[in-house]
């Protein structure tokens, strides 16, 4: 019997063998359905859900679809694209996906889809849940804060004598991947590396493997694609002879984003013909002297002073942009969200290796701000209009977004300029 069938994917007529997996058929025909848990060798896991497509009018996971004659498949509709983006954002909010120090950065499938979908931030409140990081296994580390529970490792990794190494334990939102220590010892170095490589994120690490390829040589560093800013503000009316007014601040930030701002080097002199800086660490204008068109915020909120300044920026700037990992996601300062504040203070001021004998003072004074018990990304405190991710964001990326907004014209950002690390 003839197994050849015809179907349509995004309006394109496609020929395939009946019963083939839809993901593979689409890929063979130049249409890439986003996937995270899909792994060709295995039966479909359908855990990640970003392959959701519309088949004959009904939404379903693409990876569980075996193609049939006359199927009508839609992949890139606005609604489906938006849903996929939301899932990626949920994954980012749910775990501790700090790209800058992750060993998998640049080779991470979740990060790659974030880039390809133009995800700049997560609209969901960051959970900051503290899951176990298991260092006990012989060769591997299980970083549960990065695990997206795709189940690839559970299904795929076996010892030479056919035993499972990874397993789901517990239930619901407490589900974790647990490594069987006895079985894990049987894995050799290559098998351990295989586990690390099939993980779509940086949850499985092999001990001592600190190396990643240099920037620019990693798997997903270059892609012939561009990202758009998606302008949503009205065109800015500027009276003749006046310049756009930009204010900047660094809240709980390291100043790296401001340094990146300066990294357009001599182009800065050109920008200064249309832009003037108002309140900013780079000027001596310590109080806003006028309403500003744009406020650039680096750093999240770590103390009450940061919150106060951020709220003032919201009032005094028509458009607020969070730039940098800290402002967008909390960043490095938010690492202290996993530790009680009291412990952080004690370690710094009482129990340090160079603390004085009998040290008993922790700073607290009316002239210094009070620390919040958590560090917050800016958009959890005030409404933010645009986001520029990166640690620090690429200089071209920053200025392309700023120029797009000021001039009312989209300037596309190249994939290699759009990075989270």
């Amino acid at each position: 019997m003839n197994n050849s069938i015809n179907l349509s994917i995004d309006g394109k007529k496609v020929n395939a063998v009946k019963g083939m997996n839809l993901i593979d058929v689409a890929k063979d025909n130049g249409i890439e359905i986003p996937t995270l848990c899909y792994f060709k060798k295995l039966n479909p896991l359908a855990t990640c859900r970003i392959c959701t497509v519309s088949v004959n009018g009904r939404n379903t996971t693409g990876c569980t679809v075996k193609v049939e004659d006359n199927m009508v498949v839609n992949v890139h509709t606005p609604e489906l694209t938006a849903n996929r983006k939301a899932i990626i954002e949920m994954l980012y909010a749910e775990g501790n996906h700090f790209c800058p120090s992750c060993e998998k950065s640049g080779n991470c499938e979740m990060q790659n889809w974030g880039y390809r979908m133009g995800v700049t931030n997560t609209r969901y409140p960051h959970v900051f849940r503290n899951k176990k990081v298991d260092f006990t296994p012989h060769r591997m580390i299980m970083e549960s804060n990065r695990c997206i529970l795709c189940k690839r490792c559970v299904e795929e990794i076996k010892t030479h004598d056919g035993k499972n190494v990874f397993a789901f334990v517990k239930r619901g939102k407490n589900t974790l991947v647990q490594i069987d220590y006895k079985e894990e010892r049987k894995l050799n170095e290559n098998e351990a590396l295989h586990a690390m490589n099939i993980c779509p994120v940086g949850a499985i690490l092999v001990k001592g493997i600190a190396d990643n390829k240099p920037f620019g040589e990693r798997k997903y560093d270059f892609l012939n694609q561009q990202v758009k800013t998606s302008l949503k503000n009205k065109k800015i009316a500027l009276p003749k002879g006046e310049k756009f007014v930009v204010a900047t601040t660094s809240l709980a930030g390291c100043f790296g984003c401001h340094m990146s701002l300066l990294d357009i080097d001599t182009e800065l002199l050109d920008m200064l013909e249309i832009v003037e800086f108002n309140k900013s660490p780079l000027t001596d204008i310590k109080k806003f002297s006028k309403q500003c068109h744009i406020g650039l915020i680096e750093g999240g909120c770590a103390n009450n002073e940061n919150v106060h300044i951020l709220r003032e920026f919201r009032k005094k700037c028509d458009i607020l942009i969070s730039f940098g990992e800290c402002a967008v996601m909390g960043g490095i300062p938010a690492m202290r969200n996993f530790v009680p504040l009291q412990e952080c203070l004690e370690e710094a001021y009482l129990n340090g290796l160079t603390s004085e004998l009998g040290a008993d003072i922790i700073p607290a004074h009316k002239d210094i701000p009070k620390l919040l018990n958590k560090v917050y990304p800016c958009n959890e405190v005030v409404e933010i209009d645009y986001y520029i991710p990166g640690c620090p964001p690429n200089a071209q990326h920053i200025w392309k977004v700023v120029k797009s907004i000021l001039l009312g014209k989209e300037i596309p950002i190249a994939h290699e300029e759009f990075k989270y690390d």
Partner: protein
Amino acid sequence: MAQKIVIDPVTRVEGHGKVTIQLDENNRVSDAKFHIVEFRGFERFIQGHPYWEAPVMVQRLCGICPVSHHLAAAKAIDQIVGINPEDLSIPAQKIRKLLHFGQVFQSHALHFFYLASPDLLFGAESDPLKRNVVGVAMAFPELAKKGILMRKFGQEIIKLTAGKRIHGIATTPGGVHKNIQAKEREYFLDGKEIPNIHTMIEWSLEIIEFIKQYHLDHKDFLDSFAAYPSGHLGLVNKENGFLELYDGNLRAIDAEGNITLNDIPCDDYNEYFYENVKKWTYLKFPYLKHLGREKGWNRVGPLARLNVCEGIETPYAHQEWLDFRAATNHKTNNRTMHTHWARLIEILYCAEMIKSLLEDDDLLSTDLVRKGNRRKEGIGIIEAPRGTLIHHYEVDNQDRITRCNLIVSTTHNNEPMNHAVKWVADHVLDGKTKITEGMKNQVEVAIRAYDPCLSCATHAMGQMPLNIQLRDYKGQLIDEHISS
């Protein structure tokens, strides 16, 4: 009448700082404090992370000098994998040094041209709306352009070795990540796309001429403003006591030049330092144990380094160092404003060192990583642009960091900066009934000479607004300038 003067934030510095100055009922200064208002908790939250993540994470302490932290942490992590600084392969040492000189070059250029020059070029009391890098670019476009291109050169050196200008990755435990390709270094030598290293040396010499002339034209100001006696701390070369930025021994001297810390090996630092804590600032106060809290504090940074060293190994910078020493008759230099001059001599030294490294074929080698026997503890000490930087980690046998101690450069300058603030308060604001913006900026000028990196110093992320508050003798707030 009594008042409280507040400067908040201190601008044109990295990080947040706040100054409060108390005047009594006769307008006499009764107190002056420099508060650092940021805290992050690095020493705690890095615990539990695998040790190889340290250099990548800790560099996020600062966006101006991430490389300093990256390298200091890398030196400490090298020891964890059993490699001392001298055990690294020669190519790895040279690549790391190239990175370090590149970053000191750019950081000093940034500070001088973008942050400090407005005060020197326009005057401390000039119009605040113009007194910034934009004003300098408008009024002195050629100078501004050179400053921008010098910073760019340093940033590109960093990008060459670390993959990114800011927060790159250059090191791996026991070595470096990648070597340099022959065509990559041409970029810095042929002068086609960017001015080449010879131009950088030329411009470094020019800017030193500028500061020497400036010194002659403003001698009283530069010699006396915020000048006061202090100790000085820095690394020196293990063989000859010369200026050393990457790996050396710890040397400290007192204000008259007597040795107070005699070329101590870095691994022993813990025996010599304590950090004092005060309630009114998140920044700690390091001091030498054997001298005590009152006398044991030291300046760090370019002025301190040029004070403790016995010379500079590159010819042009050595000559400039001799001229610099001549200005104080070869005695210890305690003149705070001379730090700018010292900083420019270091820019020249870095440029000369970069040149000889770029011409060295060892950079092309593939012998990049060494392995040793695992240890529990690692210490990495380096001279960051702003001063001596100490990283110390303890790691358990499951590869987790269990303890971390950071004494960051600007922390040593905490006490010195408080002295500087007090000096300006006593000499400029004392007895005055009206406090002008220009007077308050003078307080900041004194602070800026230290090129403070306040985020680094408090291992805190965030900015400290600089508040100057004026309080009366009862401690009541009279006047406050809060910039936020």
